[in-house]
């Protein structure tokens, strides 16, 4: 029996462990320095807001691991020795592996701002970050968040539930406009503002200022504005957490470099999830993808490979989702922040200004390329199929109602969307 050791108990590592267990009787050990049990990282915000307790964020009951003979070790891996196949753990000494799976996730970015290590300045990624945030935000009145991405908006929502005034510095012209087309970015920008977040667009952080106790007291923007605050959230992205691999012989660049089979340059060492950088291109995908779904899919793939059925990591059409305060967002296929030369678009927005649908297709072939939907739930299954089958935009619009996944009795908008789509496209074709 092999000893398969997995570093990291996030969605990637745990998916790998569970799927290996389904296929083999090998010994499986999962090491994490973060928490004893797997929990859903995406639910951290709900613990802070009081929607859930930490217990509620664990997808499996604690007996599950023993029952499935997955050994859990709470410790930090300090070094990997690929020659002797040994891990050096901070507390528990050396651990031998036959197969190593690296799923060590990310860490928050810090870009060397003056004052970035003051007390009260932090990112939000780990369970420890959450505990720190709990402590840092106690009895404070004002907070500043830097960086207009998904974690930033979560942090804003979290802090508002504690009645803390939030100023949000975003480098772009509209919120998340490096990812979203302008129309959606604008819709979300309005929504964020409707929640009384002081959203400062085109604004960057220049400096964080502390008081005599080394605690943050204000920040200075690139426009020279000084904003008082007792908390600064740095949410300017995350990068692979791979420092412990230094000198291990495992090839890394931004992340751990892997081939199509998620193999690293060292035999019997695999890597997956946030910490990975693909050596090869996949159309429409970045080489480092820090997304829940990516980690999960890689876990499924690597488990098959380790259990003898060598499988390439070939994700299907891109999909993702998020929630911005009260507005849900789903995306299927590729909708870039700016149209590519071969692309054309149709955008519909509900009169309430809180729902919209944005479709992209190929100008010449009419092939449907992607959709963003805000405030209307749509079926993953439909779009997955249509994208794989390269359906035309007309087909997709004709069948749009089939893809609706809103609860019963919800107002439907497909009729209006299709009518406006037809009107818009007929003008174009004239």
């Amino acid at each position: 029996m092999k000893h398969i050791v997995i570093i990291g108990n996030g969605i990637s590592g745990i998916t790998a462990a569970r799927n290996i267990r389904k296929r083999s009787n090998d010994n499986i050990t999962v090491i994490s320095g973060e928490t004893e049990h797997f929990f859903s990282r995406t639910a951290l915000m709900y613990i802070y807001m009081g929607h859930m307790k930490y217990e509620n964020t664990k997808p499996y009951e604690d007996w599950f691991w023993k029952k499935n003979k997955i050994e859990l070790v709470k410790d930090v891996v300090e070094k990997v020795n690929t020659e002797s196949k040994q891990l050096v753990l901070r507390d528990k000494g050396n651990l031998h592996y036959d197969v190593l799976v690296i799923a060590s996730g990310s860490k928050s970015n810090k870009f060397g701002w003056p004052g970035q290590d003051l007390k009260g300045v932090q990112g939000l990624y780990s369970f420890q970050d959450l505990q720190l945030m709990e402590e840092n935000s106690k009895n404070i009145k004002q907070a500043v968040i830097v960086g207009g991405g998904l974690i930033g908006i979560e942090m804003a929502e979290m802090l508002l539930t504690r009645k803390i005034q939030v100023t949000f510095l975003v480098r772009e012209n509209e919120f998340w406009s490096n990812v979203l087309p302008l129309q959606e970015a604008n819709l979300i920008t309005r929504h964020v503002r409707s929640h009384h977040v002081d959203l400062k667009l085109n604004t960057e952080l220049k400096e964080i200022q502390g008081d005599a106790n080394g605690k943050v007291k204000s920040i200075v923007t690139n426009k020279g504005e000084v904003i008082d605050c007792q908390f600064v959230g740095l949410t300017v992205g995350v990068s692979p957490n791979i420092e412990f691999l230094k000198n291990s012989g495992i090839e890394t660049k931004r992340g751990v470099l892997v081939n199509k089979f998620l193999e690293t340059n060292v035999k019997d060492v695999y890597a997956l999830g946030d910490c990975v950088e693909r050596k090869y291109e996949l159309p429409g995908r970045r080489t480092v993808e820090q997304v829940w779904y990516t980690g999960r899919m890689m876990g499924e793939v690597v488990a098959q490979t380790i259990c003898g059925q060598k499988t390439k990591y070939e994700p299907g059409p891109w999909f993702n989702s998020a929630k911005f305060f009260d507005i849900e967002y789903q995306t299927y296929g590729n909708v870039w922040s700016e149209l590519k030369p071969n692309e054309t678009e149709f955008y519909w927005e509900h009169e309430s200004g809180t729902k919209c649908v944005h479709v992209i297709w190929d100008k010449i072939t009419n092939q449907f390329l992607g959709l963003n939907t805000f405030g209307i739930r749509m079926r993953h299954e439909c779009f997955d199929k249509w994208l794989r089958e390269k359906k035309s935009i007309d087909f997709v619009m004709e069948h749009l109602a089939e893809a609706n996944f809103d609860p019963e009795f919800f107002e439907t908008h497909e009729g209006e969307i299709i009518r406006k789509f037809k009107k818009a496209t007929s003008i174009i074709s004239q």
């Binding site: 929607h51 509620n56 070939e314 009260d326 919800f410």
Partner: protein, 588 residues
Amino acid sequence: MKYLKPLGLALFITGFAIFNISFFWSSYQLTPEIVKGKISDERKATTLLQEARDLIGTDASSNFKFVAALSAALDKVNENQLSVFGFTNQELDQLAAYNKEKFSIASVDSVFKSENEQNAFKRKSFKDYGGWLDGQATSREQIQNVADNIKKYGIVNQFGFDRYAVKDLKYSLTKASATSPVKSNPALFLFLTIGLCIIGSLLYILPKLQLPAGIKNNGVFFNAMKNVQWLGILTGSWLILFYVLLYFYPEYMTNWVIMVDPVSKLLSGNEAGRFFLYGFIYTLCILVMGVRMIINYRHSKYQILRTCSVMFFQTAFAFLIPEIMIRLNQPYFDFKNIWPLDYSFFFNNRIDTLLANGGLGVFMLVWGIALIIIAVPVLVYFFGKRWYCSWVCGCGGLAETLGDPYRQLSNKKLSAWKIERWMIHSVLVFAVVMTAGVLYTYFTNSSWVFFFDSYKLREVYGAFIGAGFAGVVGTGFYPLMGNRTWCRFGCPLAAYLGIIQRFKSRFRITTNGGQCISCGNCSTYCEMGIDVRWYAQRGQNIVRSSCVGCGVCSSVCPRGVLNLEVKEEDGRFGKAILIGNNGIRLAD
């Protein structure tokens, strides 16, 4: 606007405090008129007046003192009558001596030969209760048994007060004897208690309209009320106490019943009973907390319609129509209550009442049976059990409104699911056996079915399941174990609906491809304790007998993963499949 919420809270607390104070705020004076008004048998009335003479003309300062004295007087009456009419050991020895070989019923006449009332009773009752001994070899013990039965059933019934009469008299005499500010001004007190609570609650709830629509579970797990902390425990204890009083000691809560007398008279023309009070408060809870539910979920049409539906069915079907039926001299009937939740539907007194009421009564009987054998399976097939549990049912209605703040307290463990299946199906079996026994008795007039007494069985069911489980535990445990404790672990109708939902229905909760992020909101807020996430994260339809289709899992899902759907049955029990990953075949 800022002050509305605290003002509402203050009004609610004031109203609730007056309500509790009014429980104690009364003195009691029994009069011969009251006794004679409540006991039609003149002789019984006189004997009670004799024993309760200390209560006549003097004020008892509290319900506890008054009920204790009244209780003692009623016991004393029974005790006296038993000593007057009971068989002495000597008499029984004599009877045994007469009948050494075989029992001859004629010997009774010889033992009790002198002509007086006692002997006349003894002769007649022994012949009634012991007639079957005639001509048989009989032991002293058997003779003793007959005498004991006469004591238990005959004497107390004829000359004293049996259990039911004692319970009823304690309540009705106490209510009639009360002299209190509440009694002089019931309408005023109704306003100062329940009225203030309603106004306070609404003022507390309405400012939520200022917040943007959407899921706002902020602080639920920091809240002393919603997280089994001091306030929740206190609330649960109060509710439990209320239910124990209501079902088992109603004589103490007469002041509360007096408050709603004017409402009852307005509706049915009768004085209020304790269950009128209960129904009245119950309906108001559903209405007021229904408003809260609608405001909280105003972004979801499904939740709005569902809540309006339970508010309507409770107000019209459970509360108003039955009262109006009484006003029209028709039988009390709740057209939406279904056996076996309505466990007394087949009790002989109810069937007799319906049959005695001509066409309408027969219609009600047929309607009730049609609900059981047609409406349940057909509607569950097309819509799932939610058509009843979270759209129509009164218990469900209360759980979805008053109980909504506690939905996150249901236990999601696998072990809890196991216990749930054993418990709820046991109650269903119990209800079916009990009802079969009751019907057997109805058609044969024999109370013994195999080895049990159907009267005893229905009594046990009523006390332990009907009152104890559905009432005391069902609602009292809202703040302790979640709002669907009864529906999940105890309701036999839910079990019946659930069996059909599991095996023959178009209803299921579908999951949206690979979009689940395992956050756990769905499981946390499932009031039935279903670990929804378990299915969602592996892309499997949720087909569970217990799901009441409240739709909250779908509402709280931040990624649009869950949807309640009715579709063709094919593929309902779909394999776990997560979309979006080529080349992966999931192992089982």
